[in-house]
Symmetry: C2
Subunit: 168 residues, 2 copies
DNA sequence: CTCCTATGTTGACAGTGTCAAGCTGTGGTG
DNA sequence: CACCACAGCTTGACACTGTCAACATAGGAG
């Protein structure tokens, strides 16, 4: 996790983490099946951090509608502040395409719980519930973390678009 | 490009493209500065394909509002149908974070041109113009390509959310 | 004709993921 | 208590990769 704060997951080698832990180059194989095994653990921990950040933001919001907006802002902030952690969560070589993806469950649960709040669920078309909200903040977070526009722009666009997607 | 259709950019080695071209392992260095040089060219070509797909969709739409929705659908479709090409466009190790990113210019131009259409620009808050539309379809495309939900769900959510972001 | 440049070649080096084989201390079972 | 299984670590090896350096060759510009 310490290395992940400094460099992207793709540039972290098993041998490097072995050196950082001051052990032999093969010791990691007794803790992770694979290089992918290591990345999966990093992805799991990063996801836990992400979900915690979102949950805290939601809980501090005064009402369900602003909870959605605050949660979206927290998601975007996480992507910008921990870009390598965010990337490894969604790394297609880590998050296997076939299976339902153990790693994603916490986030999806949190989202569904948030959006099933009766007062806001009523205003969401079924198709744009979790899908629309997740897609919007994910795209804004990703592009913002990559530097394609500023955090301020992303947060403003997120708040406005989410407001329009909620019950008017 | 042929290899990119089969496997992610991260798994394409310079030596492998050399073998595919039936040429010595070092020949690529006379055409690309670096491994990153190769990926940058792949990203540029992929971006051209993406922009073409979006432009075609826009041009076939009957009015500006449906052009936005059709363009978004084309963007999402490209992400799902050419996942490795889509990924390499936005690969953070390729698309350098500091500089304004040569590769992105065509897409941004296209988006700005589309959204500056007077009849729709009037209904968009400034913050959620290019940023909001791009963020939405990018997130939906990325998550859909990764298999987190179906193409149908993504297209439905995209159409609905875009409709709400346009002038009511 | 001469020479430069583009392209290609072989050879080498360090770094990596991964496998195989062997060491060691610690805990639990007989 | 003796014993042993085993988790954790080690060294050693292999194939593969990106990259550098030095050398070859061909074809066009002067």
């Amino acid at each position: 996790m310490q290395l992940l704060a400094e460099k992207p997951a793709g540039e972290i080698s098993l041998r490097e983490v072995a050196r950082a832990a001051d052990v032999s180059h093969n010791a990691p194989y007794h803790h992770f099946s694979d290089r992918r095994g290591l990345l999966k653990v990093l992805a799991g921990r990063s996801m836990a951090d992400l979900v915690t950040a979102v949950r805290v933001a939601i809980e501090q919001a005064p009402d369900p509608a602003s909870a959605v907006i605050a949660g979206g802002a927290a998601y975007i902030r996480y992507a910008v502040e921990h870009p390598h952690g965010f990337d490894v969560i969604y790394d297609p070589t880590v998050c296997i395409p076939g299976e339902p993806s153990e790693t994603m469950a916490p986030l999806i649960d949190e989202l569904e719980q948030l959006l099933s709040e009766p007062s806001i669920a009523a205003g969401l078309e079924s198709a744009s519930g979790v899908t629309g909200v997740w897609g919007l903040v994910h795209g804004l977070g990703t592009l913002c973390a990559a530097g394609h526009f500023s955090l301020d722009d992303a947060l403003a666009a997120s708040a406005e678009a989410l407001a329009r997607m909620l019950p008017r």
